[in-house]
Amino acid sequence: MSELSVRHLLGIKYLNKNDIELIFETADHFKEVINRSIKKVPTLRDTTIANIFFENSTRTKLSFELAEKRLSADIINFSASQSSVKKGETLIDTVNNILSMKVDMVVMRHSSPGAGIFLAKHVKASIINAGDGAHEHPTQALLDSYSIRERLGEVQGKNVVIVGDILHSRVALSNIFALRLQGANVKVCGPKTLIPKFIETLGVEVETDLVKALEWCDVANMLRVQNERMDISYFPSTREYTQQFGINRKLLEGLNKEIVIMHPGPINRGVEITSDVADSDQSIILDQVENGVAVRMAVIYLLASKIK
């Protein structure tokens, strides 16, 4: 169990349980590093990484960039809005041009599901998927599980409910794969229109009553409603969504136990989660952000060590 079974991180679907354990053990060491007064190690000083973002991102992009800098990698950043993609260049051409500048690793976010997989087949560099459409967002799922492990000791056997827009969420899919792989029990909860058909085949249960879901779970992962991916109306109004699927202090106080609240960000305060819950001790939202850097350092380190 000393190295990853994969050369790229395209999705959690391609990882095994040992890979996840190795990533978490390595992330533990990097978490210690980023809490020192000097937070940098020289490991990747001969590695160049390109961050290619065809879709908007704040947290993920900053987190990857910081992780790369903490590892001393050279980095180049590229966003589609300021590039030749607007002039009609294809994805492979764009990436191959960047790789001609001797880049070893590509971190890519793209709006098309499978973009990372496509790229991995056509270019030599190691690819990390930083979100491909509504498909996967593997590093988010890893940092979510890592944060659960940190708060509750382990992931195995824990009950986790993912609440909200499951249909459009890459975070939900990657989380389902990651949590099931580690032996957690998973339910999804949201408006029926936002829950994909046949999702039970992934080994999860569907619950449409939020209170029942919260009473069952140890951890609730609250997702954002992805209005930008909705071409039709999936529920009558935001107000109605909040009434049925938003969590607030009163709802949590009515439960017979204290549950852990997560959110991948960005938060729509007052929609899926109220401020008093998001900022409470039960919430590990900011721990998720801190752990994101450590987990991404681990992923980059482990993949970079396989580059020949």
Partner: protein, 179 residues
């Protein structure tokens, strides 16, 4: 593969006492000195010496930390395997302190080179010394020598020195293994 005993438990016991006394001679009450055991195999020796200094030589307060050098090594991506890290545990700053690195075997000196870089993340030490149980002579790749050594050994390159500790391996013994 054959192996011969380089040091027995009794010899190790005597050497540990001598090393503890040499440390005492130079650092007296250890008020401005910190001991740093290098992961993964130096931590047992560091633990033993600390215990000895506290229990046998009545030094009241010794600060001991463990330093992992994995992310500072110069052979990243040069071997077949991914280098796996160990836990660093240093709960103090080394700024203006006398630092003593403790490792079981000094061979090429590359680990010590990495440790010299790694320790800077915890401050700027006043000076750094090196203590090692086994010093493999004539095999250095870098100009690094120990300040305190348990036993000097002339081992040729395809021989390996294996240090075993009771708390980890069941007994105290040092072997020279011929591959």
């Amino acid at each position: 593969m054959s192996q011969k005993v380089l040091l027995t438990a009794k010899e190790i016991h005597i050497i540990l006492h001598r090393l503890a006394c040499q440390l005492l001679e130079n650092h007296l009450d250890f008020s401005n000195t910190v001991l740093i055991g290098l992961q993964p195999r130096g931590i047992f020796l560091a633990d033993r010496l600390t215990k000895l200094l506290k229990e046998e030589y009545k030094v009241k307060d010794i600060r001991l930390g463990f330093l992992d050098i994995t992310f500072y090594r110069d052979d990243f991506r040069r071997g077949e395997k991914t280098l796996q890290a160990n836990m660093t545990k240093i709960n103090f700053l080394v700024e203006d302190k006398n630092v003593v690195f403790i490792d079981d075997v000094l061979y090429t000196g590359r680990s010590i080179r990495a440790a010299l870089t790694a320790i800077q993340s915890f401050g700027r030490p006043s000076n750094i010394e090196l203590l090692t149980l086994i010093d493999r002579r004539f095999s250095r790749h870098l100009p690094i020598q120990p300040n305190y050594r348990g036993r000097q050994v002339d081992a040729i390159n395809d021989e390996r020195v294996k240090v075993m500790w009771e708390e980890n391996d069941g007994k105290d013994v040092v072997y020279l293994i011929n591959k």
